[in-house]
């Protein structure tokens, strides 16, 4: 289970804008730290989102997304009070889901 992420979903007109702030180290490539220990890549690979069971987000990250990634997107068809669930999966197989109510 990863660190909690903050999800905000705001409806304006027909578009719901969802903003997600995830907490993650996002290490993109093989590195060695100061003591010589190998650090493997460890970053979020895929983020998916659903609203009322319907998929509204499907995005893959490469290695170059910043630490503690911020991501925002829009979808149509949401109503106030609907629940948006965002899930991410990273290279270690770790997973995290968080949700927000559309306001």
């Amino acid at each position: 289970m990863g660190e909690p992420m903050r999800v905000r979903a705001v409806l304006s007109g027909e578009w719901t804008e969802v903003r997600v702030l995830m907490k993650h180290v996002m290490l993109s490539r093989l590195m060695w730290d100061k003591t010589g220990t190998l650090i493997k890549p460890h970053f979020i690979q895929t983020v998916r989102g659903t609203c009322n069971g319907k998929q509204v987000l499907h995005v893959n990250f490469g290695g170059s997304v910043a630490r503690d990634p911020y991501f925002s997107f829009k979808f149509s068809g949401g109503k106030a009070g609907d629940k948006v669930v965002i899930t991410w999966v990273d290279t270690e197989g770790d997973q995290r889901s968080d949700e927000a109510i559309i306001s």
Binding site: W15, P41, Q45, G62, S64, R67, F73
Partner: protein
């Protein structure tokens, strides 16, 4: 020789051999794909824009090499056609003080967009984001990325099986791959 240093050299050379000879694919090192075959290693760990375009078009046999771009070549993008004026919008700072956190917004008005990618040209792993545009989505997103050095940001859009791109020049004060 100091045993730690010897091990370091051993590991480095083994891994570089493995990568170079193709025995250890980026997909294996980066963790196998989760959720089915969703995270395509050839596409997302492409080392250059050319390799990304080849992988998107289905060619995974050509070796995946980092791109060396001379100053005069910055802006030449192979295999893609330039998006028409105003159809692929990229909002990114012209000067980024801190390369570890650069906010970028991409928006496409090209009809039938189904995939938008953001690539930082001279990063060691240039592909930042691959956004699959679902029917309910507005074809655009905002993200914060790492930019290693002053280079181009390229937004690539797949619409109707054709690829379009737009460039944005970005200057970075402190490189984005420290630590």
């Amino acid at each position: 020789m100091d045993p730690r240093r010897r091990d370091l050299i051993r590991v480095t050379s083994a891994l570089s051999l493995a990568f170079g000879s193709g025995l250890l694919t980026p997909a294996q090192v980066f963790g196998a794909t989760r959720w089915g075959n969703d995270w395509n290693g050839a596409v997302y760990s492409a080392r250059s824009l050319e390799a990304f375009v080849r992988a998107m078009k289905g060619d995974t046999t050509t070796p995946n090499e980092p791109r060396t771009v001379t100053r005069s070549e910055r802006g030449k993008v192979p295999g893609l056609s330039e998006a028409a004026e105003g159809q692929l919008l990229m909002d990114a700072p012209e000067l980024a003080e801190n390369g570890t956190n650069v906010p970028v917004t991409v928006r496409s008005t090209i009809p039938q967009t189904d995939f938008i990618a953001l690539i930082a040209d001279l990063n060691p792993y240039p592909v930042c984001v691959g956004f699959n545009v679902l029917p309910e989505n507005d074809p655009g997103f905002s993200v914060r990325i790492k930019v290693a050095k002053s280079s181009n940001l390229v937004a690539v859009v797949r619409a109707d099986d054709r690829f379009y791109y737009a460039l944005r020049d970005i200057t970075v004060m402190i490189g984005g791959c420290l630590g």
